[in-house]
């Protein structure tokens, strides 16, 4: 049993909340008391049916206004997998929430309303999924009941979407006709679509191969904390605590510390206090080296024969998340894993139209939810990999030093 993290992209009108509610309900993850609570609320509404969407609206403002204002996380399990859903709202102004939810996801479910087909919002969600380099996409064509479960409608949408997917270079795409409100093709394969040869949505989610998405080749270990008990018994103990974000480390491996370039070999590896021969992603471990060299939080230990880029000028695709605009020349803190360094956004090269993927001329400033290509200069060299190649070591955040708020998501090119 492993974990699949996925994001659902779509608006309330696409039936996104209903879909999530349905997954939770039909997988028996909703308890009676929670159901009673939403039944009570549903009765206040006119039609009298249980509104599964209420399961995902957590905050009072959302219930009152019938909107979703933030990323919510939901959990359910089957004997095969534990699932973590990042439920991000689909409105235009909330691009940042979808970027946030997608950053940790293995898969995106992109909801398409069968009546409307591929629309601007579908493109936007798909573009974000591709920018964030999500390994898997499921296109769920919903409300099939409202188009008489028509195979033609379904096929036309598949053809339209395939074009979008090709232009974006999306990798593993699956299509499925569903009716979230009726539960068709959600948990069990439905008889409503005799022409559909694939499996139910839950079956797809249970069987997507995610272990292969982990990179076991490019070993990266950002140091988070140095364990030094400095007691009599453990006088010389010096362990580098962190998480193997990619790759495999073995006892005896020759390593380089970046950005200093210092070298050593791995003397020992500990996991939860026990010595092991090797450690692999994404284990949290403690590394011991043969030499007493200067290493601190923010350094990255890599294998000597597989180095990351180490630069102080970065080409970045930046999703702006701040309420105040990004002005070229402004200084920020750039945080990549445990490393924080001062940075200046030197220039905006172009703005990406998230509905068409066209490059627009560089604006003077970038606003909330804009995606722009920028050049960032950092005060000290940053060890990184391109986001396309290695997500875990190519994503960084920008922090406004005066407000301390996270204002940007960087995909380093």
């Amino acid at each position: 049993m492993d974990i699949l993290r996925f994001i659902t992209a779509g608006s309330v009108d696409d039936g996104k909340s209903t879909l999530i509610g349905r997954l939770l309900y039909d997988s028996k993850s909703i308890m009676i008391d929670q159901l009673e609570a939403i039944e009570k609320q549903s009765k206040n509404k006119e039609d009298g049916e249980i509104d599964l969407a209420l399961l995902t609206d957590g905050l009072r403002a959302e219930r009152e206004q019938g909107i979703t204002i933030d990323v919510a996380y939901k959990y359910f399990s089957t004997p095969k997998r534990k699932f973590i859903i990042a439920d991000a709202p689909g409105h235009t102004q909330y691009t940042r929430n979808m970027v946030t939810g997608a950053s940790n996801s293995d898969l995106a479910i992109i909801l398409v309303d069968a009546r409307n087909g591929v629309v601007e919002q579908t493109r936007r969600h798909s573009i974000i999924a591709s920018l964030l380099n999500l390994p898997h996409v499921v296109v769920a064509i919903n409300k099939m009941d409202l188009v008489n479960n028509s195979e033609d409608v379904y096929n036309n949408i598949v053809i339209d979407y395939a074009e979008v997917a090709t232009s974006l270079g999306l990798k593993d795409i699956k299509y499925i006709p569903i009716s979230a409100i009726n539960g068709d093709n959600i948990v069990e394969k439905s008889t409503a679509f005799p022409w559909y040869e694939g499996e139910s949505l839950l079956h797809i989610l249970e069987n997507v191969e995610v272990a292969n998405d982990i990179n076991y080749t490019d070993a990266r270990f950002p140091v988070q904390y140095v364990i030094r008990p400095q007691t009599e018994a453990l006088h010389d103990y010096r362990g580098y605590a962190g998480k193997v974000i990619s790759g495999i480390y073995k006892k005896g491996d020759k390593i380089t510390v970046q950005p200093s370039g210092l070298e050593s070999t791995i003397r020992a590896i500990e996991i939860g206090g026990k010595e092991v021969e090797e450690a692999f992603a994404p284990q949290s471990v403690v590394l011991h080296l043969n030499d007493d060299i200067d290493i601190s939080r923010g350094d990255v230990i890599v294998l000597k024969d597989n180095q990351p880029s180490v630069e102080n000028e970065l080409d970045v695709l930046l999703c702006w998340m701040g309420n105040k605009p990004l002005i070229p020349g402004n200084k920020y803190l750039l945080q990549i894993n445990s490393r924080v360094t001062r940075a200046v956004v030197k220039e905006i090269e172009y703005k990406l139209d998230v509905n068409s993927l066209l490059k627009e001329p560089a604006p003077e400033q970038a606003g909330l939810n804009d995606i722009v290509k920028v050049k960032i200069k950092t005060a000290s060299p940053v060890p990184f990999d391109s986001y396309k190649k290695l997500r875990v070591n190519g994503g960084a955040i920008l922090i406004d030093e005066t407000s301390n708020v996270t204002v940007g998501a960087c995909m380093i090119q």
């Binding site: 308890m31 929670q34 997998r81 946030t100 988070q224 103990y237 962190g242």
Partner: protein, 302 residues
């Protein structure tokens, strides 16, 4: 690559250890809020894995409402003692006296709201900049929306609309003076994950989690232990039942469940079969209103 696969408990554990170490790396004066309940016991266990053979870079802090189960208090002292880490206890009763606060009245007069005062005073007393807590997102729908690093203003308040975006596994813990961050390392665990982890790691728990005989009051379908903190009326139906606790909070706001589960395996079987949520079955305080938890969090509750 089949030998390089982690199962879901390994993945959750690694994520939580990573979060613990981010706290150690980013903050000057963190603290671990310890209640004696299973979630905070799991937190301690994860901290051992994150920092041993070093000492914890934070003390354990218990906000004692004075309405705790004795078994939980005993266990708290026993655990802190056995791992040799510092335990700070601050009492809500003292805050009530010092600040002239008014206690709730009524049958289940609870100090749940008042403990926020003691917590905020304790944060100020020790200048804590990060408080690690055992809240899980599956517990309650307001919690489902909270970040792993959750910034609180100097009044301890949570503003759900002004949360920092939290991307990848990068946590931004930068704060202004007076603010603090609540950190939730087991955000992504469910109740069942916690129990399965306790089983796998053979983690010791207070005895009240296992079935035992107890005198209880039947109140609106819930079983509340009789104690000096609860006012009984003549019409109250009191009886001795075999029960266990699914959550451990104050005696005034935590209900027991009828059970014969005397070991972890039996408890896991019961939890898989249950049709009621953890808080719904055992917490009297969440029943106040639809937004009870959201309101408490906005006011500084963890």
């Amino acid at each position: 690559m089949s030998q390089h696969r982690l199962d879901y408990l390994d993945l959750l554990e690694s994520e939580s250890i990573h979060i613990f170490r981010e706290v150690a790396g980013q903050f000057e004066r963190p603290a671990l809020l310890f209640s004696g309940g299973k979630d905070s016991i799991v937190l301690v266990h994860l901290a051992l894995k994150a920092f041993r053979p070093g000492k914890f870079p934070f003390p354990l802090v218990h906000i004692d409402t004075g309405h705790n189960f004795q078994e939980a208090l005993d266990f708290r002292d026993h655990l802190a003692n056995s791992i040799g880490e510092k335990l700070i206890v601050r009492s809500v009763a003292d805050t009530i006296k010092e600040k002239n606060l008014t206690e709730q009245k009524g049958k289940f007069a609870s100090r749940n709201a008042l403990q926020t005062y003691t917590l905020l005073d304790t944060i100020e007393e020790f200048k804590f900049d990060a408080c690690i807590g055992g809240a899980r997102r599956d517990e309650e729908k307001a919690r489902a929306k909270e970040r792993i690093f959750s910034v609180r203003d100097e009044f301890g308040q949570w503003d759900p609309k002004l949360q920092r975006p939290e991307l990848w596994n990068t946590y931004n813990g930068r704060i202004h003076k007076g603010e603090n961050v609540r950190v939730f390392p087991i955000s992504n665990w469910t109740e069942l994950d916690i129990w399965n982890y306790i089983k796998r790691n053979e983690i010791e728990l207070p005895s009240i989690y296992f079935a035992h005989e107890r005198e209880v009051l039947e109140w609106q379908g819930q079983l509340v232990a009789t104690s000096e903190f609860i006012q009984l009326d003549e019409t109250d139906k009191v009886s001795v039942k075999k029960v266990r606790y699914r959550t451990v909070g104050d005696m005034t706001c935590t209900a027991a469940v009828e059970s014969t589960a005397s070991n972890i395996d039996d408890i896991i079987t019961e939890i898989i079969a249950t049709k009621t949520s953890e808080r719904g079955e055992t917490r009297i305080d969440d029943r106040v209103s639809e937004a009870a938890m959201e309101d408490r969090k906005k006011n500084g509750y963890f």
